[in-house]
Structures are given as structure tokens and as C-alpha cells.
């Protein structure tokens, strides 16, 4: 019987899951990620434990990583609401972290900032096919002249990408030319750019020592962890229909949606057509490192609203803000739950689109921007905050607000299976589905 080993090399923990060829999880182990020495130390520690549990050696290894900050990228477009947004969605859809998004010409401050941020990859877009070429070429020149070489994915106007590539390559940059993220105005095509980002990730992202050794032992390319989660959700959505997933973390809240792209009868769409599978990341919404901005967004009075003793919650909140590593004190889980509920609500509302009623002389028109998530029937919670909560339902349940799902079924990734299942989604979709079906708990 074949044994598949699925590894998630996280920023703090390296988590290994072994499944047999029926899709049953037969062993799990984790060890602290040893990013400061060699990630193989932590990996091998977890590996020997998994092998002991499983009673045999694995046949194939698949892995994803978010160690050493994950895949950090910068996106450049032309008009911020058009190719700027398209470039950002492509970067997020590839599982990367967006450090910055720039529009129009890169000025000297931007160039300095790019040089100091040192992204793993830069996505350079701008102009529709047959459209503007000037900004793409000028930005390529600015980068070539002032920035130390870095990997670049060129996803701008097809009439300028080759010339831009020559400019960058002459300065020592490694460049991959791919399809335009917005070939026609308001039409997204981010799949080619995602593929190119994955290719460059493979070739260039070896910042953590040992990552290359790990890569050589894998049956499929190493991918960023969010890309694995995105793949798991996609597989699930193909089986059960439109889906929404939310992952509340310490620093960010990630939202993944599959569907919600149809324009309801009687409405008209304005702006970019959103991708069917869309990932957004709220960098200012998180339970610890981004707690102060979460509280600011949610409003302190709302967070403290249901407190049995308001002063007690207020003091606890101050303690957590002062030391983000802190766990919430026993008896005050309600505070943690309120914070998580606010994180979910804010992140989902930002992910979802909006409807604006415009009154014209001939009557009212409803104009839709972005995704209409109301018809989505399933919402899945991911992450320790919800898994460890006594009442995950209370965190995920949403009022019928805006374009959020109306009375969806709520589920929980209670066994942290998403990334592992996503690793198998490409090669062994049947096993991956089985893993998901076994692990997701309906709330």
C-alpha cells in the first residue's frame, strides 16, 4: 500500500501528515521549524516520528512552505483600479504575500522602497494588449537602472513585454514573460501569471537553508502554503459547489472564494470581473500582531459589547496588545471569540463586492462591483482561533449582511487538513477529496 507524506513547513511548526492510498490519515507529527539553522533538522525530526507511527517509509513526499516569511512579492500595474488590481489578484492567487502594489511610473522613492523591501519576485504589469506600453517600458528601465537584479514576472501589454524583458535581462534580472493579467479592459486573466510565479518560486526561493535539499526529495514542486490551501478549496468547490473559506491568523486573515461571479438578474456589473477562485489577504486584520488595527476597525465598543465585566475585558485586551505571544486568560474566551468574529466579518465584507443603487431618470439601477457571495452555500473556518474556540459557530455565523452568504452551512477544518489535502489535489484528487470529507466538521 502506497504512503504519501505531506509536509507543511510553516513559520513556526513543520507539520507532517501521512495518508495511505485510500486517503486515510495514518500518521501525523510536527516539530519546530528550524529556519535559523537548516529546515531539514525540524523536517527530519517530524519525519522519523511519522515513519514510526506509520510503521513504514513513505513512497512520495509533497511539500508547501511559508517559512522565512513565505513568498513575498511586489506588484506593479498602470491604473491602480485596473492592471494594478489585476496584478495584485494574480500575486495573491499564486499564494504570495503582497508587500506593495504600485501604479503608474515608479518614482525614486518607490525604487528605494523596492530595493529595501527586496521581494522574492516582482510582478510587472501595465497596459491592455494593444494598449499602453510606455509605462511598462519606463518601469522596466527604472528597475534595471536602480535595483539589484531580482526575479521578475512580466505580465503586461503583449506589445511591450519582450522589449521590457530585454531591458531587464541586460541588467542581469531573470525574467519570465507570461500572459497579460488584463488583456482586455476589465477582463482578468491571472492564471498564466500564477503559473509563472510558481515556476520562479521553484527556481529562486531558497532563502531558508535546507529548502533546496527538501525540494530535491519531492514528487512535485514545492509551493507556497496558501497555494496549497487554494488548491484544496478548488477541489472541494468542484465537488460540492460554490464555497467560501476564511483563515484567521495572528497577523493576517485570508479569505478564499470559489464562485460568486455571476451577475444577478436586474443588476449590472461595473469594473473588473473578479476571478472565480479568488484569494484576498487582510494584512491589518489578525488576532495578535494585527490586533490593534483589528480593534480599531471593529470599534472597541463593539468588541466589549457583550462583556460581563467590561473593565476586565478591557484590561485583558491591553495585556494581549502589549505581548502578542500571550494566550487569553481562562474565563475570558468570550473576548477572543468577539475579536475573531470581528476579524471574520471585516475580512469577508472586504472580500465581497458591493451593490450601489443608482437613481436615474428612468428608474433605479443596482450596480454590482466585485463578487456577489449571497448564493454561496458553504463557509469553512480555518485556523487555530476557530479550531480551539469552544464556539466556532459563533465566530463564523454571519448576519445576512451586504453580499455575504445567506444562511450558509458552516464547517470547520478541525484537523488542519487543508494545506495537506491541497498538496495532493493535483496528483491524487480522489485521495485529497477523501481527506477533506473525513476531516471537515459541520458545525
Amino acid at each position: 500500500m502506497a504512503l504519501y507524506l505531506l509536509a507543511d513547513v510553516g513559520s513556526t511548526w513543520t507539520k507532517l501528515t501521512a495518508v495511505d492510498d485510500t486517503g486515510s490519515v495514518v500518521a501525523r507529527a510536527s516539530a519546530p521549524t528550524t529556519v535559523s539553522t537548516d529546515i531539514m533538522q525540524g523536517f527530519n525530526a517530524a519525519l522519523s516520528e511519522v515513519r514510526t507511527q506509520a510503521g513504514k517509509k513513505e513512497d512520495k513526499i509533497y511539500a508547501c512552505s511559508s517559512a522565512a516569511g513565505g513568498l513575498a512579492m511586489i506588484a506593479c500595474g498602470l491604473v491602480p483600479e485596473l492592471t494594478g488590481q489585476a496584478a495584485k489578484l494574480a500575486v495573491l492567487g499564486a499564494g504570495a504575500k503582497v508587500l506593495r502594489v504600485y501604479g503608474y511610473n515608479l518614482n525614486r522613492d518607490d525604487i528605494k522602497e523596492i530595493e529595501s523591501l527586496r521581494p522574492d519576485i516582482l510582478l510587472l504589469a501595465g497596459g491592455t494588449d494593444g494598449g499602453n506600453t510606455r509605462f511598462l517600458l519606463e518601469n522596466a528601465q527604472a528597475l534595471a537602472a536602480k535595483v539589484k537584479p531580482l526575479p521578475v514576472v512580466l505580465a503586461g501589454s503583449r506589445n511591450a513585454v519582450h522589449e521590457a524583458a530585454e531591458i531587464l535581462e541586460a541588467a542581469g534580472f531573470s525574467v519570465e514573460i507570461t500572459g497579460n493579467v488584463m488583456p482586455e479592459l476589465n477582463k482578468l486573466d491571472i492564471e498564466p501569471a500564477r503559473g509563472s510565479i510558481r515556476n520562479l518560486f521553484l527556481r529562486h526561493i531558497v532563502r531558508a537553508k535546507g529548502m533546496e535539499t527538501l525540494s530535491r526529495s519531492l514528487a512535485a514542486p514545492l509551493i507556497p502554503t496558501p497555494a496549497a490551501v487554494l488548491a484544496a478549496g478548488k477541489l472541494l468547490a468542484q465537488e460540492i459547489g460554490q464555497l467560501l473559506m476564511v483563515d484567521v491568523g495572528g497577523a493576517t486573515t485570508d479569505v478564499y472564494s470559489y464562485g460568486g461571479v455571476e451577475v444577478p438578474t436586474g443588476m449590472m456589473r461595473k469594473g473588473l470581473e473578479p476571478p472565480w477562485d479568488m484569494r484576498t489577504v487582510e494584512a491589518d486584520i489578525g488576532m495578535r500582531y494585527s490586533l490593534s488595527s483589528l480593534v480599531e476597525q471593529a470599534g472597541l465598543e463593539n468588541i466589549l459589547a457583550q462583556a460581563p465585566q467590561e473593565e476586565q475585558w478591557r484590561q485583558e485586551l491591553e495585556k494581549i496588545l502589549a505581548s502578542p505571544g500571550r494566550l487569553v486568560s481562562p474565563g475570558l474566551e468570550g473576548l477572543e471569540m468577539n475579536l475573531a468574529r470581528a476579524a471574520v466579518r471585516i475580512s469577508l465584507l472586504r472580500h465581497a463586492g458591493t451593490v450601489e443603487r443608482i437613481y436615474s431618470p428612468t428608474g433605479a439601477v443596482d450596480v454590482l462591483t466585485g463578487k456577489d457571495l449571497r448564493a454561496i452555500k458553504t463557509v469553512i473556518g480555518i485556523g487555530g482561533v476557530m479550531v480551539n474556540s469552544p464556539e466556532p459557530r459563533g465566530i463564523l455565523a454571519m448576519g445576512n449582511e451586504g453580499l455575504l452568504p445567506e444562511n450558509p452551512r458552516l464547517m470547520l477544518d478541525s484537523k488542519y487538513i487543508m494545506a495537506a489535502a491541497g498538496l495532493l489535489a493535483g496528483d491524487q484528487p480522489r485521495l485529497a477529496s477523501r481527506m477533506l470529507a473525513d476531516s471537515l466538521a459541520t458545525l
Binding site: 491604473v79 449590472m268 443608482i358 428612468t362 439601477v365
Partner: protein, 135 residues
């Protein structure tokens, strides 16, 4: 062939003439970026930048054209496309007003060509080709 941005400005939902114009200009060989109805000034300008359009063609059929169109040339200048051709046509003002003052008002706003109600697409196409220096 030249790219043009087409749309109906403001809270105007008149879609039929917009479709006819899209068809006629496409047939005439232009690459038409049609933003449809309910288009804001900002959307016109952004689309023109991203697609490197040679002209913006604004329609207004509901009588509020004067308010909706005011400042479009200035916005183009601010956005770095101050030289772009701006055309406007339709029922630009409320009621039956004399054409010349209406035309002059829109020319003063910075439009290069102003078309009265009932203009046939061919007329605008011929002028656009002339203004863009294409045949």
C-alpha cells in the same frame, strides 16, 4: 487601427444608442472599448490610459450632460492625457434649446467635437478618422 473609449456618462442608462455606436465604430475598423451605461468621468479616463486610446466618445441622452461632462478635459490633463480627442453627442441639455449655444458651451468645456441629436454614426466616424489622421 486606433483604439477609442465609448460610454454613456453619468446616471444615464440609455443602452441602445451605445450598442449601435459600438457596432458602427467597430465596423469602421476601430478597436472599441465600450464602457456601457452609467460611466463616470474617472472610468473614461482610466480606460483611456490603460488602453492607450486616441479618443473618448461620450454619450448623454437624459439632459444632464452639461453637469456630467464639466471637468472631463481637466481630469484628462491631470491624468497626463490632456491631448486626447474628446467627442460628445446626444440630448445634451434639457428641453429644446438652440443648438449653437449648446455646441459652444461644450466646445468651451474642452470637447473637440459636439454632435446634436439625430447625428448618424457615419458622420462622426468620418470626422474621427480625419482628426486621428487615419483612413
Amino acid at each position: 487601427m486606433a483604439t477609442i473609449v465609448l460610454g454613456v456618462i453619468g446616471s444615464d442608462v440609455h443602452a441602445i444608442g451605445n450598442r449601435i455606436l459600438e457596432y458602427a465604430f467597430t465596423e469602421a475598423g476601430f478597436k472599441v472599448i465600450n464602457l456601457g451605461v452609467l460611466t463616470t468621468q474617472k472610468e473614461f479616463v482610466q480606460a483611456a490610459i490603460e488602453t492607450d486610446a486616441g479618443a473618448i466618445l461620450v454619450s448623454s441622452l437624459y439632459g444632464h450632460g452639461e453637469i456630467d461632462c464639466r471637468g472631463l478635459r481637466e481630469m484628462c490633463i491631470e491624468a497626463g492625457i490632456g491631448d486626447i480627442l474628446l467627442y460628445v453627442g446626444g440630448n445634451l441639455v434639457v428641453g429644446k434649446q438652440k443648438w449653437e449655444p449648446v455646441r459652444d458651451k461644450f466646445l468651451a468645456m474642452g470637447f473637440d467635437r459636439v454632435f446634436p441629436p439625430g447625428t448618424m454614426p457615419d458622420e462622426a466616424i468620418a470626422l474621427l478618422k480625419q482628426d486621428l489622421g487615419v483612413s
